[in-house]
């Protein structure tokens, strides 16, 4: 039956995007088990409600939209574990960056024209690697902000943390990301 064929195609397409969704979920959850759960819930929701899906070319966008909600569900469910601080999370880059009088030890480098870097695929590979190397809790709040596009209040509520904690985590995450990009891209010798 044609309707069944269409349904099979749909199921096949959804399944084929599973790896991309899993990678997306891992970046945000930093826990393989939670990521698997979020993706499974997403696929199930998609297969149970195919009628809410607009057009085939938009399949990934539609699934990512569902996944974002499932990722937030996971973070809420595992809030306690998701906010445990590792030794890395506690490390303070400020001490390395600033002298006792509050001045820069080394002035921030000129990174040049952003578009020049954005044209290079390797730049985004380094960016991804640097985000992946953030300590887990810092990485989670950073991705909630940058990829899930939640505001500070929503992040605090979801994870049951204070805004003071959030500012410290985001501050450290951004400084660390900057440090990593400086070391692995902007300050690294590479072919022009």
């Amino acid at each position: 039956m044609p309707a069944t064929d269409a349904m099979n195609d749909f199921a096949h397409d959804v399944q084929s995007l599973r790896d991309a969704l899993l990678r997306f979920a891992r970046h945000q959850l930093r826990n393989d088990e939670w990521a698997e759960d979020a993706v499974s819930e997403t696929l199930l929701a998609a297969l149970e409600k195919p009628q809410s899906f607009g057009g085939r070319s938009q399949l990934k966008t539609w699934l990512v939209g569902i996944l974002k909600h499932k990722v937030v569900d996971q973070l809420r469910r595992h809030a306690r574990e998701a906010t445990v601080l590792g030794r890395d999370d506690d490390e303070d880059l400020d001490e390395q960056l600033f002298a006792a009088d509050g001045h820069w030890r080394d002035a921030p480098a000129d990174w040049g024209d952003p578009e020049h870097h954005f044209r290079q695929r390797q730049f985004f590979e380094v960016l991804e690697a640097c985000v992946t190397h953030l300590p887990a809790t810092q990485g989670r709040v950073f991705m909630m902000r940058e990829w899930l596009e939640l505001d500070a209040d929503e992040i605090c509520k979801t994870l049951s943390i204070s805004s003071t904690n959030l500012w410290v985590l985001l501050h450290r995450a951004r400084l660390r990301l900057r440090d990593c990009l400086q070391g692995r891209w902007f300050g690294a010798a590479r072919p022009a």
């Binding site: 960056l97 600033f98 009088d101 509050g102 001045h103 820069w104 960016l127 991804e128 940058e146």
Partner: protein
């Protein structure tokens, strides 16, 4: 409360980063802008933060759209 001009690079850096995640108050914005006028190092930091913001936006857009994971 210290005069806006008395803030250190370390303080201003913190405000610049918080500006990524919340709307700064006008005294805070004034502090940042005044500091940027007299500091040689912090404007460079602000440009780095802007580049990172735009880079994350690009990466997010590419990863979410279409069938490809290519960051291009």
């Amino acid at each position: 409360m210290p005069m806006p001009l008395m803030r250190t690079c370390r303080d201003v850096t913190r405000l610049v980063l918080q500006g990524e995640d919340r709307r700064l108050s006008w005294p805070e914005r004034l502090t940042v802008r005044l500091h940027m006028l007299i500091c040689k190092a912090c404007p460079g930091f602000e440009r780095q933060v802007l580049l990172m913001r735009r880079a994350m936006g690009r990466w997010r857009a590419y990863s979410e759209a279409g069938g490809s994971d290519d960051a291009r």
